[in-house]
Symmetry: D2
Subunit: 338 residues, 4 copies
């Protein structure tokens, strides 16, 4: 059960609502996001909305049978749209492309990629400055300094930045230089990080865990939402299976399923999913037609020289072609009314 409270609810009204709900055997968590105030009730029984709905201070009351609540579409039927400013919006009828290198490497690289994005009218650039690596001896990214350099050029060009945050202590130093925080597949269940991202007033993209279920991804989003941040995106990036002919198995089923279960935008990452450069476009287009609100993929002026993930990164010629094909595919999907 989700009770959305009026903005001007009084403490006394709120207490009365909580008492009444607890008397109906609900465990109540008060959630105050940057936009609204909710009481989230978890309980086994069903509820007759009339028994509570008339109380003062209540804006709206919804029964939600899913175990996740605030991210469920059973409550918020219309899809969520995230506004990044400058006319850049994600979700609810928009199709968003995010592109860029695995790692931010140099000014030369940043400039070249921003130029590529601008030529294609792409407004969001991806790139890593903190890189999670299996081996402690691998390149771990250029850190905050890399991010600052990137930010300088991106701001000039009107390009927004999405970049991975790996730990709580990086949130604040990154804050001035990113537009979207990305939670990587190894951190999808780093609950402390999720809690802290709930307090930030910037959007968050949450990748599905390496072997995470659809429901676990929704629960992770519930963590951030219930900690205060409603501006979330979900990202399918392939799951770990026994199959060895590709890096991960992109779960194409998850795209329509997530769109139905949640009101949040769904982004797909074909680069990490298949891990084979020449097949990235086929998988990207599949995600577009299946209902993704956006695609995030890796591009580089010279994938052969990239410090990481070169084998799954498109060069600019390939990227240009993919962008055109994705847009045409999205237009076809819209014509289907999907």
């Amino acid at each position: 059960m989700i009770i959305q409270l009026k903005e001007d609810v009084t403490s006394k009204e709120k207490e009365q609502i909580i008492s009444k709900a607890e008397a109906l055997s609900f465990h109540i968590t008060e959630v105050k996001t940057q936009e609204h105030i909710y009481l989230v009730g978890v309980g086994k029984g069903d509820i007759d909305p009339r028994s509570l709905g008339h109380m003062k201070g209540i804006q709206d009351l919804h029964r939600v049978s899913d175990d996740y609540k605030l991210v469920s579409r059973k409550w918020r039927i219309n899809p969520t749209q995230i506004d990044l400013g400058n006319q850049i919006k994600i979700g609810e009828g928009e199709f968003t492309i995010m592109s860029g290198p695995c790692s931010i490497e140099s000014e030369e690289q940043i400039v070249a990629i921003i130029d590529h994005l601008k030529q294609n009218n792409i407004k969001i650039m991806r790139g890593g400055v903190f890189k999670p690596r299996s081996s402690p001896y691998s390149f771990r990214g250029n850190g905050i300094d890399g991010l600052k350099t990137w930010y300088k050029y991106a701001k000039e060009a009107g390009i927004k930045i999405i970049s991975e945050v790996m730990q709580v202590s990086q949130i604040e130093p990154m804050y001035d230089y990113v537009d979207i925080y990305q939670v990587g597949a190894r951190n999808t269940q780093n609950f402390n990080l999720l809690d802290e991202l709930g307090k930030v007033d910037k959007p968050v993209l949450i990748k599905r865990g390496i072997s995470g279920t659809v429901d676990e991804l929704l629960y992770s989003a519930e963590y951030v939402f219930s900690a205060g941040n409603e501006r979330l995106m979900l990202c399918e990036r392939g799951i770990r299976t026994y199959e060895r002919s590709s890096r991960n198995t992109l779960d194409i089923n998850a795209i329509p399923i997530l769109k139905e279960k949640s009101h949040l935008p769904v982004i797909a990452d074909p680069s990490h999913a298949i891990g084979i450069r020449r097949h990235v476009p086929s998988v990207a287009l599949a995600c577009v037609i299946a209902g993704a609100d956006g695609i995030i993929y890796e591009s580089h002026y010279s994938p052969e020289e990239a410090l990481s993930d070169g084998q799954q990164t498109l060069n600019f010629k390939e990227s240009n072609q993919l962008i055109n094909q994705m847009r045409a595919t999205f237009d076809l999907r819209k014509s289907f009314g999907n």
Copy 2:
């Protein structure tokens, strides 16, 4: 190594070629299909084509580094097209739709579905008369009698039949009534069945195993091919993973990968892959844009009454819409040159 022999090769020439190849440390298997004669050489070393290529009786010689040989695209670079007669062709630029019920149930059902297919200009009907079921107490299909009834109506309507064969002893009784034999996911590594289907002069569609790898599917096709039958199709139908929000996980990556590795047509089965009726179209369209040569899906005039798989079967209204959308999506793909 694949050595294609001339049609008029003499026994003596063939023996000489075999001796020479064995002397070069290849293990040679002679393969006589309904169309050609080959010597397939398996060996660790590399070979200089000039050392053999000049010998009498040789049409062509190809080095193939894959462990599967005759189904590899490293040997036969152009995709294979399968001609079913009556202008019905599969693969190499054609887009093929196969639709119909999980199980053949009754004349009324057959007539209704054939009518639906004709209205949509679909030429191949799927349906099961031998049903593999986990429990011995479940409905196991209407058998050969069901197939004969089906055949009567299909022939009149000019519709081709694809149906699953579960064991060697069914091949011959089914022969007069099917146009394509289907090997189900539980029989992908039933090597005796594959061997016997190699001797039949009708096309075979091989489904990927429930947890089969891409390579195992290619090996299974190699069994049928090397036993004599070149008219094969591969079918991606979802794999078993830990994810529980859908029936199986459709491996969308496998579509471009199979198309690259093999010259055989690739068909996708979205119905078994996702197992949720309202999401079948999204997944079907994803497979089309990703490169599938055809889609096989379940339809029924009243899925709610179907004896099996009703939860993943489209009704005719849904099916009509999907057919139109698949064709539009295929046209878009062609416009991309993919």
Copy 3:
């Protein structure tokens, strides 16, 4: 629901029982095994045993909530013991070792291994004469002739034979030369083969599918049982997962779970499960202490020269040691009362 009928039940009595059960909304399958006659009832409702139990011709009536019925321990509470004759018994307190090569290769090999088994007082020899191989170009076993040679020596030595049957047409030619038919992991859901093995009066060992669930293994056994053969064993041999440091992942959990769910003996195959020779003993001992009724593993006088599976096959010195350790471990387990 399982109704065991009296041996002297009359047709009329049986019909009356069936009518009554169908009136209670059960779908009834009549099962006549080599030992008893049953009516297996599948239905959604519960049943009050008194409503049927008094009828003439009924020996016993059991409610079984599992979807598999005759192999369930909810019906037959005492474990099943299989008697191979000559004091050789499997299950219910016995600990059975089956050992031998992956493939039967030569008389010399047969003689050496039989000698090894006799020295260790092992009564059952494993070996393949029909080998399922991913590639059609690999060695496929020495066939019936290999089996006949093996049989000659085994019979002299008082050793029983277990060997894999791959297809229906092999059942009859193998019949005179095997003591236990083995169904391999690729055939666990070859339902026609299972049906036919139900008609044979020799025991059957069913391996779990390559990615088969515990429940699917029980259903496969239900096929054989309901087709007439009660003398069955289940075999855990490792499942396919994402992990690549071993050949398969032995599901040790499955051993106590299968023992609880079913009355059938449970055998474990550590050789195929881990696939690494030096680690086979650790895994074998784990299966013994966890409750397995027997272990089947690969041994050879010279694993390095074996035609197949040499990397997971023990030599005689290793095998001697493992046998002693397994017996000591089984004794310890018995002392625990497990």
Copy 4:
């Protein structure tokens, strides 16, 4: 390559060694643990030890072909033993039992469990005060206050504490009250947490990720080791597979494999692996005989009332029996020389 430096190596000597190694195309990372100083060299080429080994300041030089280095047994051939003081040692011939509740709940609970452990001469108690939970609305543990209460009673009783740390900011507040930090399955690749635990002078137990590979677990240990902490344990706790009859699939193969690949002690967690109370003992004993250096399992005076994981927690009677059986099984294993 691992170069262990002498304790009294001079800066100049170290620089010369690094120069020489870099000239041989190795990428060198200097590692200063709480016990030794190393230079870890990652490179593609092989090395002739004589080309470096004679240099001043070098204690020892080892070629290590694995990608992980310091945790590899190719370098440190003898198993590592961890000394907790008070004669409590883990690894290298010791068998260690760690038992206790999922969550620390109350003083009454703590006292009862400590009493149970003392009666069985168990020296290490497990328990969670920070609980990772899929849902943000679930009980998340009693936090530092719970830990302090626990510590008070444990210290009096001479019992050591192992408890999960979920984030960097908890390391310091927990420090005075834990003897072993546990890294949970969702944090195995939380690289920042691993880095920080490298700086702590208390042992760390690292659980395998929910779908982590054996190699990824070793890499995670390499993170902690290379950040300074050599006192590490690895823990097998079951992996995520398609099988649904148990909570996770305990990878019994991983136990001998980890023991061979690494010199670190290997602990097994049967409770989370199978998740079914009555089967925990079978799996625990399997892990003991397969080579585990210790077992960590859940016990509670009244599992039915536990706030979390009750379905997999043993009561004291069951726990008493398991302890005796594990010790007898370990004795048997020792008698085998394993």
